[in-house]
């Protein structure tokens, strides 16, 4: 192929790759973009057809969900609005962070044991933990509601933290177990020969070397727990429900407050974004197993 033809082929390949990538990203990110613009539009703009891409943005939606707006009644008396967003964020943080901490405290040692033990029932136990994720939440929600009400756990943080383990524990155990299986037994044996206890070996050798897996599992578990809707809606009432359920506060009898719902979606996604950025460096670091010859 001549030089000119090669150059043309190169440009064509690069151009078409870029076009495909731009189209894919546009398709995938469009809903995010749309919600973002919806949070900034006036109600007429939201509902109009054909849809408006260029509009005058307003920040009333965000002010409203943060409780910074005021309602003026017919008699001229103004009242503040409650910030369901902040209530929801507070609940989400309490519930999900506690869930993750408990899942890590239980799941990391479990992952270690499941990675190392020679018990014949090892795979059975691991699979059983995985099956927790198979149960559709809608299937178990009714029995759970009846059970928790009866033992007085309706509308408590504990009930949510407990139930959320169904989501986070299998993820942490399975993902971290895979990473721990990759750590050669010889490193632990070197630690034992050097005179260290199994506990020291677990905290100072195994966990640091499984850092990548722990970060990945934590992030995934966090996202799935944070995004959960059904457990919060049924097992808790207003002041315990997480931010996902608080969006329903804006489905009022008067009107469906599209803008405020969009705003709360954006607000609910922000903590996840921040967490991803924070954990990203652990995900990328991987394991420097250059100390072991492969």
């Amino acid at each position: 192929m001549s030089e000119r033809k090669k150059l043309r082929k190169n440009i064509f390949v690069n151009l078409s790759t870029s076009v495909v990538l731009i189209l894919s990203f546009s398709f995938l990110l469009f809903p995010v973009y749309w919600i973002l613009t919806m949070a900034l539009k006036t109600n007429p703009d939201i509902l109009t057809y054909p849809p408006k891409f260029i509009f005058q943005p307003v920040i009333k939606g965000f002010q409203y969900i943060l409780g910074l707006a005021k309602i003026v009644g017919a008699t001229g008396v103004s009242a503040g609005v409650e910030s369901w967003f902040l209530v929801g964020i507070k609940n989400s943080i309490i519930v999900v962070v506690s869930t993750i901490l408990i899942s890590l405290a239980v799941g990391l040692p479990a992952a270690y044991v499941l990675a190392r033990t020679k018990l014949k029932s090892k795979e059975n136990i691991a699979f059983t933990i995985l099956t927790f994720r198979f149960a559709p939440p809608l299937l178990v929600i009714m029995p759970l509601y009846l059970l928790f009400s009866r033992i007085g756990l309706y509308n408590t943080y504990i009930s949510l933290i407990w139930v959320y383990q169904l989501i986070s524990l299998p993820m942490i155990v399975w993902i971290v177990r895979g990473y721990m299986e990759e750590i050669p037994m010889e490193i632990e044996q070197a630690g034992m020969v050097d005179g260290y206890s199994r506990i020291w070996i677990f905290f100072r050798l195994i966990l640091p070397l499984a850092k990548g897996g722990i970060a990945a599992a934590t992030l995934l578990a966090f996202i799935y727990c944070w995004n959960n809707f059904i457990f919060g809606m049924i097992l808790a009432a207003v002041y315990v429900q997480p931010v996902t359920v608080q969006a329903t506060r804006y489905l009022t009898p008067d009107a469906i407050m599209f803008r405020e719902i969009a705003a709360i979606c954006i607000g609910a996604a922000l903590p996840l974004l921040i967490l991803s950025i924070f954990l990203q460096r652990y995900l990328i670091s991987g394991m420097s197993m250059g100390a072991i010859k492969r």
């Binding site: 070197a190 034992m192 050097d194 640091p208």
Partner: protein, 371 residues
């Protein structure tokens, strides 16, 4: 610097028997080498002594005290692994210092003392310029030295080295082998060193134990292992090039041996004949080391076995070539690298009958070592 005794040690992994009823005694301060091919059980042997694997059967004694129930941390042994097993996320300094900071050392050393000890060992092993590096930034030879430093720093009672030179470049290997001689003199610890390379074994060992498939084939000083191998397995694995082995039958009347594969006879002296007659059998497996076969380009009374020359190879200052007598392939080693042999040239060979090794055809055992 204890004397180590193993009595009837058996270690199984599921169905595989890694160590089969081993009993051996290793002397105080001895540099004891375990020689054997891959899969022989050398690493398992070391791990059993270290306490990282528990034997199904048998006892281990240090200076007469049973250590079967003592955990690894308290046995005061050091082990270097074949793949070094350095802590990947610790610097070289922290890798070497690790044994001094463990609970087993009962916090005996303060920071300053640890610093001094690490510097001293690092200097001795020529790695003091690498102390801030991570293991992933080191070469094979450097990693090996760090692993050694980590093992030596706690001045253990027993030093276990698992194929330390196996994955190191040839040039560094020679260098490190010299260092092992030096370390041996300096530390006088009871040392058990495993290898699949018989040259290392012969060079470094006070005594050598040949292990194959979990069973001890022979234990003895290097000279004995080389000159009086107990069976064909030991003979084939010790010595380069590999010993020539072929069947022969005895003709007492003519004081000759007949080899059916090569269809030739050769004379043997009276004392050899007597040895064979005392043993009693009429057929033997004969072993001839490559440097005990001589040749001439012209036939004579002594050089009377006609052979066709095959390919040849010059290594260092030696010449190795292959020759064929009818259907029998032989390897021959000569100290004259300048000799030029032509492929398919005719040569006349002679065996040095005094240096031949005779093995019983059924048991594969050296008849000279039969009690």
């Amino acid at each position: 610097m204890p004397k180590i005794s193993l009595k009837n040690i058996t270690k199984k992994f599921e169905k595989v028997v890694a160590l089969n009823n081993l009993s051996v005694e290793i002397n105080d301060g001895e540099f004891f080498i375990i020689l054997g091919p891959s899969g022989a059980g050398k690493t398992t042997f070391l791990k059993v002594i270290a306490g990282l694997e528990n034997p199904e059967n048998g006892e281990i004694y240090f200076d007469g005290d049973s250590i079967n129930n003592i955990t690894t941390a308290k046995r005061d042994v050091a082990l270097t692994f074949e793949d070094y097993s350095l802590y990947p996320h610790f610097t070289v300094f922290n890798n070497i210092a690790a044994p001094l900071k463990s609970s087993a050392s009962k916090n005996k050393y303060n920071t300053k003392q640890i610093r001094e000890k690490v510097d001293k060992i690092a200097k001795m092993l020529n790695i003091n310029h690498l102390l801030d590096r991570l293991p992933s930034e080191l070469s094979g030879g450097q990693k090996q030295r760090v692993a050694l430093g980590r093992a030596l720093i706690k001045e253990p009672k027993v030093l276990l080295l698992d194929e330390p030179l196996a994955h190191v470049d040839a040039k560094i290997r020679n260098q490190l082998r010299t260092e092992f001689h030096f370390l041996r003199e300096k530390f006088q610890t009871t040392t058990i060193y495993t290898s699949h390379d018989y040259k290392e074994a012969i060079s470094l060992g006070d005594r050598v134990m040949f292990l194959n498939k979990g069973e001890i084939q022979q234990i003895g000083i290097p000279e004995i292992i080389y000159n009086f191998p107990k069976n064909t397995i030991v003979a084939l694995n010790v010595g380069w090039p590999e010993i020539n082995l072929f069947d022969c039958s005895v003709n007492s009347k003519n004081s000759q041996l007949y080899c059916p594969k090569g269809d030739f006879v050769f004379n043997i002296s009276g004392n050899i004949l007597k040895l064979l007659e005392i043993y009693g059998k009429s057929e033997y497996l004969v072993g001839a080391r490559p440097h005990h076969i001589s040749f001439s380009e012209k036939p004579s009374d002594v050089y009377n076995l006609k052979a066709i020359c095959g390919t040849s190879e010059v290594l260092d200052n030696q010449l190795v070539f292959y020759a064929k007598i009818k259907n029998l392939d032989l390897t021959i080693l000569v100290n004259d690298p300048d000799l030029s042999l032509i492929y398919k040239q005719e040569l006349w060979l002679s065996f040095d009958d005094q240096s031949l090794i005779f093995f019983d055809k059924e048991t594969n055992e050296n008849i000279k070592l039969k009690e």
